[in-house]
Amino acid sequence: MRKMIEGSRAVAEVVGLCRPDVISAYPITPQTHIVEELSQLVADGDIDAEYVRVESEHSAASVCLGAVAAGSRAYSATTSQGLMLMAEVLYNIAGMRLPLVITAVNRALSAPLSIWNDQQDTMALRDTGWLQLYGEDCQEVLDMHIQAQKITEDDRVLLPVMVCMDGFILTHTYESVDMPTQEQVDAFLPKYDPLYRLDPDNPYTLGAYAGPEMYQEVRYEIQRDALASKAVVKEVARDFQAAFGRWAGDVVDPYKCEGAETIFVALGSVVGTLKDWADVRREQGDKVGVLKLRCFRPFPQDELREALGTAKRVVVVEKAVGVGAYGIVASEVRAALYGQASTPQVSCAIAGLGGRDITFETLDEMLARAQAGETDFFAGLRTELLEAS
């Protein structure tokens, strides 16, 4: 059913459609509208779940961990500092191979304190063992939640998934979305029935420690299965299309990349701006295209090679910094393209930090500087504010 709805409320509704048994969260801007709406849905009996109002994000993630281990479906949402406080538990959930979906609202990290959007928070968690999907608009974010639940519970995966959603830009934007029905979601998402659970009739020990003779193999399996999960992400996207009648994304998603000299690679909501900008520049005769990186973990190396290999140059738009080195995504894109017969120039354009708008002017600047051969720069920087180095 089509409805005009705020991004956060759309997420809350779709989370409800996925029938979580346990919801646990701690409020933090700009995740608040999601958990407020979920609280109301539970309070009204529209979601039949235990809502555990915890004292920290560390405990929110831990409550979810316990609930999933006990054989129930769980859910949480957080952002920024909350993700950092959860980080220890996030590694643990992945290491214990517990299926869980959280909404990771993207927000800058302190200091300085900023409640506004960038993607430093989830980028810092890229090695946790969680799969990461980045949504461009509210519809995609909504669809990703259903797909993510299916992916994480797949026996071939059993790794948790973060659905990454730009704070304010998506969470607080009203958009017309196609909200699926409960029947549709129920048909797509069977009841959670784990292989192992904390059950007194069949007791298992979970979370035993591993010595040097065991640990590496456990970590190897996580890496092996995370890499292999790409096939499941693609399979679930196809199944989703069959069930819901709309295509909701591959691991990468090209826009006007045919014959493009310069391809911009980006994650999340900025992809929408990039598409509009590419339309304008194409009309002006500039051969630009856009590649949406929808799935950052597992990292789609083969797809990136295929999509970017024939371009003259690539501009990676980064809302995070690999401080002391280069852009995080750009480094991985460069590595993916390394050793090809002809490798495009890969420029890393850091922009949009702490909620700074990425405008057409910012993108014009990125293109011009990349065309001039610059490979690592901040775009849209207010140089008049900088202290002398």
């Binding site: 560390h58 961990l65 538990v89 020990t205 979370g207």
Partner: protein, 301 residues
């Protein structure tokens, strides 16, 4: 004469064959707890001695479903298990949810999560194994380390008598949450531990039992003396055995009141106090701490 047949029946929640040190107080305490709890339970365990000596993969001493996640989140993990089992209808069928932590994992790093579990009213029995320092990492000082004890991070030295702060009174803090049941116990008093666990299991809501569990390696005494050392701690008043119900003291265990020296002198961690006059002044202060407990809870008479 053949050896009597050994049966796991009464201890099937926690089985022999684990790797605790000889004389370990909490290995005995967990057996007492699990004898009463039985097999129809799920446990969340903090990182610590109990976790490490019971579950070196692929071995496990646990006969109940058991999970270890991290050092500070067992109360939250147990909260999540409880919420899930409630939704599944298993709590109503009588499945008990337990959480275990050492004093470091409970009084220090896991304190916030524990308070959250209390305040939200989860139906969880939390048992703290109190051996008064971080034993698993090599006897570092915790918030539960008693005044005067020398640990590897509060060592006695030329300018130090060891730990210079009194033990954090977590049972009183737990009681201040108004939770239905709080008790302190000592592994040395088997029947008392069993009675308190049994009582706790009959109550709905968050329950907290803190068991004093002597540690021969960390405290420095002969491993065969664990139960004697534990009993002395109770009898001198330094470890008062108290029960609170909904925030009010409802029962205390009366003591004979032996001087604290009787308890302190047999332990390496207090040995430095007996060597100097200044040290003896510290022992006098420890006696005051015991006397305060005796007066506060009416332990004598």
């Amino acid at each position: 004469m053949s050896a009597p047949e050994f049966t796991y029946e009464i201890t099937r929640g926690f089985l022999p064959g684990h790797r605790a040190c000889a004389g370990c107080g909490q290995a005995t305490a967990i057996r007492l707890v699990m004898e009463v709890v039985g097999p129809k339970a799920v446990a969340a365990n903090a990182t610590g001695c109990l976790e490490v000596f019971s579950t070196p993969h692929p071995e496990s001493a646990w006969g109940i479903p058991w999970i270890h996640s991290l050092f500070e989140n067992q109360a939250a993990v147990a909260s999540g298990i409880e919420a899930a089992l409630k939704k599944q209808g298993k709590l109503a069928e009588g499945v008990k949810v337990l959480a275990f932590g050492g004093d470091g994992g409970t009084l220090d790093i896991g304190f916030g999560a524990l308070s959250g579990m209390f305040e939200r009213g989860h139906d969880v029995l939390y048992v703290c194994m109190d051996n008064e320092a971080y034993m698993n990492t090599g006897v570092q000082r915790s918030g539960s380390t008693p005044f005067g004890a020398s640990t590897t991070t509060s060592p006695a030295g030329r300018r130090s008598f060891g730990e210079d702060r009194p033990k954090k009174d977590l049972p009183a803090i737990a009681a201040a949450h108004g939770i239905p049941y709080v008790a302190t116990a000592s592994v040395s008093l088997f029947a008392d531990v069993r009675r308190k666990v049994k009582k706790a299991l009959g109550i709905y809501g968050p329950r907290y039992i803190q068991i004093h569990v002597p540690c021969p390696r960390g405290w420095g005494y002969d491993e065969k003396l664990s139960l004697d050392v534990g009993r002395q701690a109770v009898e001198c008043g330094l470890y008062p055995l108290v029960e609170w119900e909904s925030g009010k003291v409802t029962r205390v265990r009366k003591i004979k009141k032996v001087p604290v020296e009787e308890y302190l002198k047999g332990q390496r961690r207090f040995r430095h106090l007996f060597r100097t006059e200044e040290g003896k002044a510290q022992i006098a202060h420890i006696q005051e701490l015991a006397d305060e407990n005796i007066e506060k809870y009416g332990l004598v008479g």
